[in-house]
């Protein structure tokens, strides 16, 4: 974090420095340009006046003659002396008259006067020299061919043999005819040095304020940005570590109305909200744990209401029974039951409440107890179901219902009398045969739907070695991840892999087969099974 903060300050200040440098450069350049322009104009004007005066001391019609004679004669000497005098007095560097050749690439000197302080020697009359550069060449051409009356050449950049200078060029005429060019060169040391001084002064003058602005801005940044950000960071880290109220709120430490102030207030609010949320969460978790505990108790009570001790009748050799219930939720709506009505009669129940969860579990408890108690009082299964149905309907505001298969076996003979209230068909194996679905005819409607319903009984016989397998729809409707159902055919197929197994093995075979079939798919229905096998006659 420290590195990021430092970098932020450095970045901002670097940005300001760059902006300042750009401003200095632009203002320096603009000043430099206008400075150069004004001074050049002034130099040019002075040089032009000198040139104008110099034109007065020479005779444009005699240039040919002077060249021919090599500048002999008193007239030339006088004019040259006057020109030299003018050169010294006006503080020009050179005043000279030239005649370019036909393609302006060479110039021939007619006059050449040199300031006495320059240290240069003058060219002799008739001296021929290459034209210095194309700029001069073009001006010569325009003076001769286009009647240009005045030209200025400024040379102040790069290396120049005779230093920065300005040259004014004017035509020398004989009447209207141009016979030569008169040039006045003035040095511009004053200009370049003054210009340099100007640039230095501007830079120096700006440097002080810039440094001051950077320092002041740095201090300002530190107070308004870096320090509050550090404070906020410290508080955020403290909160993450301690999860408690801050010793001092951020908004009391950072009172600015800017974005940092807004951030400080937001973090204060977030801290408060988080603490409140954590408090609520703790309460909610406590409530949930309490409910979970109660559900565990409910699960235990429900499980305990079903016979779970196996073997259930260790001293009865004539039959064997096994059952299991696996709820999809903590508590289920399915149930099984089996109990002896007397020494010779075994009651078997399998049932499925139409719903799941706590409500279904309570309904299941009531149904189970009603069936159990009414069956113990004697009578046919249909009478038991009729009674229980009326009882359930009388107090059933929730429109729940329960499918029930109830059978009573005479142990001595294997004769079973049964009644079906909306439940699945039983699966039966006779003697040494195979398990088969047993269509037990027209079913009565499930219990709890309508008062006063009648139920019918039917009978069948379980031979020695025969078995009865009862189940709820959770078995056949167990689904794999692709929503394929386990199905009743597969159930019968699995049963017949070991048709002579014990009830416990039969129930576990189906359980394992379902487990292998559904794999990781979550199950939404309770799975309940009851298996009774007739192992022999009464001793």
């Amino acid at each position: 974090m420290k590195k990021i903060r430092s970098n932020m300050a450095v970045n901002i200040i670097s940005g300001i420095v760059v902006v300042f440098i750009v401003v200095i450069c632009i203002s320096g350049y603009v000043g430099y340009q206008s400075f150069t322009q004004v001074l050049s104009d002034q130099y040019a004007e002075t040089a032009y006046r000198t040139a104008d005066t110099a034109l007065g001391v020479i005779d444009g019609s005699k240039l040919d003659e002077y060249l021919a004679t090599g500048g002999k004669g008193e007239e030339y000497e006088t004019s040259r002396a006057n020109m030299e005098e003018l050169c010294n007095r006006q503080n020009a560097m050179f005043i000279y008259v030239i005649r370019p050749d036909a393609d302006y690439s060479h110039i021939t000197f007619v006059y050449n006067t040199v300031n006495r302080n320059s240290g240069f020697d003058a060219y002799k009359v008739g001296y021929v020299k290459d034209t210095t550069n194309d700029e001069y060449k073009e001006i010569y051409r325009r003076i001769y061919e286009e009647g240009l009356e005045r030209a200025t050449v400024v040379r102040d950049k790069g290396f120049i043999e005779s230093g920065s200078h300005i040259t004014e060029l004017v035509p020398v005429k004989d009447g209207e005819k141009v016979t030569g060019i008169l040039c006045v060169q003035r040095q511009m040391e004053a200009l370049t040095s003054a210009r340099q001084k100007y640039v230095n002064d501007v830079a120096l003058a700006l440097l002080g304020p810039i440094l001051a602005v950077i320092v002041l801005y740095g201090v300002y940044l530190h107070r308004r940005l870096i320090k509050p950000v550090k404070t906020i960071t410290r508080e955020a880290e403290r909160f993450a570590r301690e999860n408690s109220d801050p010793p001092q709120t951020l908004s009391s430490q950072i009172t600015h109305q800017d974005e940092i102030g807004v951030l400080a207030r937001s973090i204060d609010r977030m801290t408060a909200e988080t603490l409140k949320y954590m408090e609520n969460l703790t309460e909610a978790t406590a409530v949930r744990e309490k409910i979970a505990t109660q559900l565990e108790v409910a699960t235990a009570i429900q499980q305990n209401s079903l016979p779970q001790k196996f073997p259930a009748f260790p001293d009865r050799k004539e039959f064997d029974v096994y059952a299991s219930m696996t709820p999809a939720l903590e508590v289920g709506g399915d149930f099984y039951n089996f109990f002896l009505i007397d020494d010779n009669h075994l009651a078997m129940v399998i049932a499925d409440v139409s719903d799941k969860g706590i409500g279904a579990a309570l309904f299941m408890m009531v149904s189970n107890i009603l069936i159990h108690n009414r069956a113990l009082m004697g009578g046919k299964p249909s009478e038991v179901l009729e009674f229980v149905n009326n009882q359930l309907c009388a107090h059933n505001e929730t429109s729940m219902f329960v499918t029930v298969w109830l059978g009573i076996m005479e142990i001595s003979t294997g004769e079973i009398i049964a009644s079906n209230a909306g439940h699945e068909y039983p699966i039966i194996k006779q003697g040494d045969g195979k398990f088969e679905l047993y269509n037990d005819g027209k079913h009565g409607v499930m219990l709890g739907i309508m008062e006063g319903m009648k139920f019918t009984d039917y009978t069948f016989k379980l031979e020695k070695g025969g078995a009865l397998y009862l189940y709820t729809d959770g078995v056949a409707e167990a689904e794999d991840t692709d929503h394929n159902q386990f199905g009743i055919d597969r159930t019968i197929e699995v049963l017949n892999k070991q048709p002579d197994a014990t009830p416990k093995e039969i129930v576990n075979n189906i359980k394992n087969a379902i487990h292998d079939f559904v794999k990781d798919a979550p199950q939404f229905d309770d799975t309940t099974m009851l298996c009774v096998k007739r192992t022999g006659d009464l001793p």
Binding site: F401, T403, G422, K442, V445, I449
Partner: protein
């Protein structure tokens, strides 16, 4: 599931298509609970593919609230469920 209802005075036909199970039954229940003035209700189950106990419960609620409830065009699969659950004995199936 698709529910199609056609009304004719105090007679109404509700055609069910698809699966009537825990997730779709509440929709039908809401519709049945809101039927006022209907005295003769017919469920057309020709295109019903599956009915769960939650679906049967809604049919039962309809039967309790309305004078005449009948079932038409029941298919083999649904008929079997009606037989197993005993609904065949309490509903007028045509």
């Amino acid at each position: 599931m698709i529910i199609n209802k056609t009304a004719d005075g105090n007679k109404m036909t509700i055609a069910l298509e698809g699966r009537l199970d825990t997730s779709t039954a509440p929709e039908l229940q809401e519709l049945v609970a809101g039927l006022e003035g209907v005295t003769d209700l017919t469920f057309d189950l020709e295109k019903l593919m599956y009915i769960s106990s939650a679906g049967l419960r809604v049919l039962m609620i309809a039967k309790k609230g309305i004078k005449e409830v009948s079932i038409i065009n029941i298919n083999e699969d649904i008929k079997e469920i009606f037989d197993i659950t005993g609904f065949s004995t309490i509903f007028n199936i045509q």
